[in-house]
């Protein structure tokens, strides 16, 4: 593979149970391309956490995944409420998710820490009232 592959997805917010479809498609695509299973899993998990966040906090958004020969770049954009204090949001256990989300197994304040753990690079740009852009990169060894 010498050229890059660009994948675009819209993430809807109306149905929490459907969240994760984009991550699932990306995972399948990478697997079919024969990408290293550890890389596939790290991309899948970090993207999935990001996708869940978009649905919980931001009424959905868009995901772009670019597959290069040596890395995978993910950009998640939303027009949600924005993050007031990114440092605080990154702290394990800190959450602003509502109770109904916790009863579904999320909202433990582990989403962003997990994304940081699995991606080789994580950048968050956020403006309150405007939205959040999360950029992640996973290197292919």
């Amino acid at each position: 593979m010498s050229e890059k592959i660009v994948l675009n997805y819209d993430v809807d917010s109306d149905d929490f149970t459907r969240a994760g479809e984009a991550s699932s498609k990306v995972k399948r695509k990478l697997k079919l391309m024969g990408v290293d299973p550890d890389v596939v899993r790290r991309v899948a998990i970090s993207l999935y956490e990001g996708e869940i966040n978009m649905v919980i906090h931001a009424d959905g958004g868009t995901i772009q995944v670019i597959i290069f020969p040596d890395k995978i770049e993910m950009t998640l954009r939303d027009r949600g409420p924005g993050i007031e204090d990114i440092e605080l949001a990154m702290r394990a256990g800190y959450t602003t998710a509502p109770d109904n989300i916790r009863s579904l197994g999320f909202g433990a304040g582990m989403g962003l820490p997990n994304m940081k753990r699995y991606a080789d690079d994580l950048k968050i740009e956020s403006k309150v009232g405007i939205g959040t852009t999360v950029k992640m990169r996973v290197d292919i060894p």
């Binding site: 929490f16 149970t17 459907r18 969240a19 994760g20 991550s23 699932s24 995972k27 299973p37 899993r41 899948a44 998990i45 999935y48 956490e49 869940i52 579904l104 197994g105 999320f106 433990a108 304040g109 582990m110 989403g111 820490p113 997990n114 753990r117 699995y118």
Partner: protein
């Protein structure tokens, strides 16, 4: 240990994926918090959970988890079963509570075997 052994130890009912029960399971994880499940890298793992929604199957898919055991007799709905079949994940349901189900499997030799990724 295989999925078949787990089924037997827990007296569990197979909901789907019965053609995959000879697959090996190397580690286990018991949790109702999906982000906790996602925090640990596991190899050929079984997930024991009291949660019962579509995101449980999605989480297992992302983690390459081979089998999910629903404790306290919980039963997944049609959409969950459909997704599990598509992703080749065996679903089991046991009447045991979480603590007992984990204990039984631990006693049978299954371990957490998770490595935490800093």
């Amino acid at each position: 240990m295989t999925i078949k052994d787990i089924r037997q130890a827990l007296g569990a009912r197979i909901i789907c994926g019965d053609h995959l029960i000879d697959r090996e399971v190397h580690s286990a994880c018991g949790s109702d918090m999906l982000s906790d499940v996602l925090a640990f890298v596991k190899d050929k793992a079984v997930l024991l959970t009291g949660l019962c929604n579509l995101q449980v199957i999605r989480t297992a898919e992302m983690m390459d988890i081979v089998c999910i055991v629903f404790v306290r007799g919980k039963m997944p709905d049609e959409a969950m079963i459909e997704l599990a079949i598509e992703k080749e994940i065996t679903l089991l349901s046991t009447g045991h509570r979480m603590f007992s189900a984990c204990g039984i499997l631990y006693e049978s030799g299954l371990r957490g075997g998770a490595s935490y990724r800093e």
